[in-house]
């Protein structure tokens, strides 16, 4: 470990910034793999606490937040040194969270308690607990930071939460076990994935109406294996990528028409996705094959796969 840290320190010293570094939580091996986003080489592996899952980075790239589910808190690491700086209270069993676009506060889904916890990232204090549906999981935030979306897996709703008042302003019923909520960069559309329902709901955030449901059909893959989880949309709003879980594929969707245009074969049980800052690449965590697939976004092609720790779960890329 010391050796790894030393190596990491050297590399950090040699590079001007940590831009384009990729951080992957490994749920089973309790660590974080750091990849170089240029060479795709593993820079190091660092202890994370027990059962690391959701991961996010502050807009200025100085704080790395990790939901450490079995420790019932959020650990905050220095992305340069991967030293733990402090922890944040999260409520029990935190799984996913979303950071306000300004970097503060952090909205955390607590599956065990049917609440969303709001935590100030500067003062490390809990600001609010918002009651939501059964098993809150997916968290998304509107680009203007005014609305946070939480999806509840057993209630099957996307809850719209006002980030000023912490009140729920609307609830949209979607298909079974909604896992992830993702706005387009212009805020005009909200995508919500449903793992058991096998669909992605396209929601108009203004009217809070479902305008379309995207479904998937892959020759040779059992329909019940198609389980949409992570989703990311390019900032120009042209392409939506959806991780399909045990179907071992990422769906590429034309985000103008919301029609599926391709399926890319990745590793096993693909869970979460993250773009590189220039959106040239998309990283996927493949939980059952212990690797990360790297997709060339323009070409719709998997260009590399990189072995990481055991049961990779979440991924985030440092901003430029």
């Amino acid at each position: 470990m010391k050796h790894l840290l030393a190596t990491a320190a050297l590399i950090c010293a040699a590079q001007p910034a940590l831009a384009n570094r990729v951080f992957i939580t490994n749920e089973r091996s309790n660590d974080i793999t750091v990849l170089d986003g240029e060479s795709f080489e593993v820079i190091g592996t660092y202890p994370a606490g027990n059962r690391p899952r959701g991961i996010a980075i502050s807009p200025d790239g100085t704080e790395l937040y990790v939901c450490v589910s079995d420790d019932d808190l959020v650990r905050v690491f220095d992305p340069q040194t991967m030293e733990e700086m402090h922890t944040l209270p999260s409520g029990p069993d935190p799984e996913l969270f979303v950071l306000h676009p300004s970097g503060n506060p952090l909205f955390i889904a607590n599956e065990d308690d049917n609440i969303v916890t709001v935590v100030d990232t500067k003062t490390h204090q809990m600001l609010a607990e918002i009651p939501v549906g059964v098993e809150p999981e997916g968290m998304g935030v509107s680009p203007d930071g005014r609305v946070v979306i939480n999806t509840s897996e057993t209630t099957n709703m996307a809850h719209f939460i006002d980030t000023e008042t912490y009140e729920i302003t609307a609830n949209v019923l979607v298909d079974s076990r909604p896992r992830f909520a993702q706005y387009t960069a212009d805020g005009s559309k909200l995508y919500v994935t449903s793992e058991i329902g096998g669909t992605v709901s396209v929601i108009d955030p203004v009217t809070q109406q479902i305008t379309k449901k995207i479904s998937f059909d892959i020759p040779g893959v059992l329909p019940e294996a198609i389980q949409p989880v992570g989703a990311r949309v390019t900032s120009d709003g042209s392409k939506l990528f959806v991780a399909l879980g045990p179907a071992n594929r990422v769906a590429v969707i034309d985000a103008a028409t919301d029609e599926v245009i391709d399926y890319l074969l990745v590793g096993q049980r693909v869970w979460q996705l993250a773009f590189s800052p220039d959106e040239k690449y998309l990283y996927t965590t493949n939980g059952n094959s212990n690797d990360v697939s790297i997709i060339d976004v323009a070409a719709n092609e998997v260009v590399r796969s990189v072995p990481v720790g055991q049961q990779p779960w979440g991924v985030v890329v440092a901003p430029d």
């Binding site: 069993d93 509840s152 897996e153 809850h159 809070q208 019940e224």
Partner: protein, 399 residues
């Protein structure tokens, strides 16, 4: 493709309206759980002693879950729980019907479940959360009943698929002498024929009565079990069919030949296990344990799922009308999530809820069937149990 989606959406849009929190008067949706306890002998292992709130605790959790969603829907779920004996079950059922409760979860054995279904007729929908009888899904099927409990055929097929994957096709089958043991043995015979296993030897362990507990009873058992299993045809595994709980749990480590045990002991096919953690089940187990101060048993899971089916139908239809809910539950549009990694649906030919079967040891879930190599043209879950083409169920035309 687009047309298909628009069509479905047109239907769904009515349901997809944003649901605002301030509903005026909540719609009340009532259900009951009727548990019929057979005052029989205590189980061989005291770990299996039934808690007083068996099943009811699962029902309480489902009502809580339904109400959490109901807050957003303007729906209020109310559940009555009643414990009865086989002698008082009909009276208890009449009371529930007199209260005009239209959804009744029944936790009883095969015969009582069937008698209650016939008593109810078209006055309520029954949800069978305990009885495993294949006859209840076959020759004795009833239009007014759906089956959340897996059938014996499903449990046997779940185990057989795993044993075929394991390449243990030669079985010594030991069954008890009670009717339910015979029925389970028949399910294993059918399953062996379906998947190509061979029952090389079959023995009956007769229940000669007597107490379950005696001082230092293990001394005799230790010599009885090896003797009972000696000189069998060469076999890979011992399959036990002992629903009456007379002998199976004694067998592991006491068989004459060193062979694993499965069925009623050893590797056991079940609908649920308190160590299940996949597919978000950890949170579900935690919620239950916080509520009930004990671990979740199969009966609790099955009661929970029964009431969640009603709650899911109420959410999706945005209705509390019992006829609307029943029609939706029986329609091809219905599905519900049950922490088993895929949507659970209702077979239209016998009203059995399709579901994966867990294969469990004392401490863990060893595997989950269907095993991936068993494919099916409709749903892989239909490789478990009685498929459409084989069903003996003929629902009577209600007209």
């Amino acid at each position: 493709m687009f047309k298909g989606i628009t069509g479905i959406l047109a239907g769904a849009c009515a349901l997809a309206q944003p649901v605002h929190a301030q509903a005026p008067e909540p719609v009340v949706i009532r259900a009951a759980v009727l548990r019929v306890d057979d005052p029989g002998l205590p189980p061989i292992s005291r770990l299996e002693l039934p808690p007083e709130d068996l099943g009811f605790a699962g029902a309480d959790l489902a009502t809580d879950d339904n109400d959490t969603t109901g807050r957003f829907m303007g729906q209020d779920f109310q559940t009555v729980t009643v414990a009865a004996t086989p002698d008082t079950a009909a009276d208890s059922m009449r009371d529930l019907l007199d209260q005009d409760i239209r959804f009744i979860v029944v936790m009883a054995d095969d015969d009582v479940t069937l008698a209650l279904a016939d008593q109810v007729g078209d006055r309520a929908m029954l949800i069978n959360a305990m009885a495993r009888g294949d006859n209840l899904r076959g020759v004795d099927c009833r239009m007014n009943t759906i089956h959340v409990a897996p059938s014996r055929a499903m449990l046997a097929d779940g185990l057989t698929q795993f044993l075929m994957w394991k390449n243990w096709p030669r079985w010594m089958l030991i069954h008890g002498s009670h009717p339910q043991d015979q029925a389970m043995a028949e399910a294993y015979r059918r399953s062996a024929a379906k998947f190509g296993a061979e029952i090389v030897e079959e023995r009956e362990f007769e229940d000669t009565g007597g107490a379950r507990r005696t001082d230092s009873g293990h001394v005799q058992v230790q010599s009885q079990m090896p003797v009972f299993t000696q000189r069998a045809e060469d076999h890979d595994i011992v399959i036990t069919a002992d629903e009456a709980d007379v002998f199976a749990v004694y067998l592991p480590y006491l068989t004459w030949d060193p062979r694993p045990v499965a069925g009623s002991a050893g590797l056991v096919p079940r609908s649920w296990h308190p160590a299940m953690e996949a597919w978000g089940a950890t949170q579900f187990q935690n919620r239950f344990e916080a509520l009930a101060n004990r671990r979740m048993r199969e009966a609790d899971y099955q009661a929970w799922l029964s009431l969640r089916i009603i709650g899911e139908a109420a959410t999706r239809t945005n209705s509390g009308d019992p006829d609307t809910l029943r029609d939706f539950i029986l329609s091809p549009e219905f599905d519900v999530a049950g922490f088993k990694g895929q949507a659970l649906t209702v077979r239209d030919w016998d009203h059995q809820v399709r579901q994966p079967i867990l294969l469990t040891t004392g401490d863990l879930t060893t595997s989950v069937s269907p095993q991936e190599q068993y494919l099916h043209q409709t749903s892989q879950l239909d490789t478990l149990g009685v498929d459409r083409a084989e069903t003996e169920c003929r629902f009577e035309d209600p007209s």
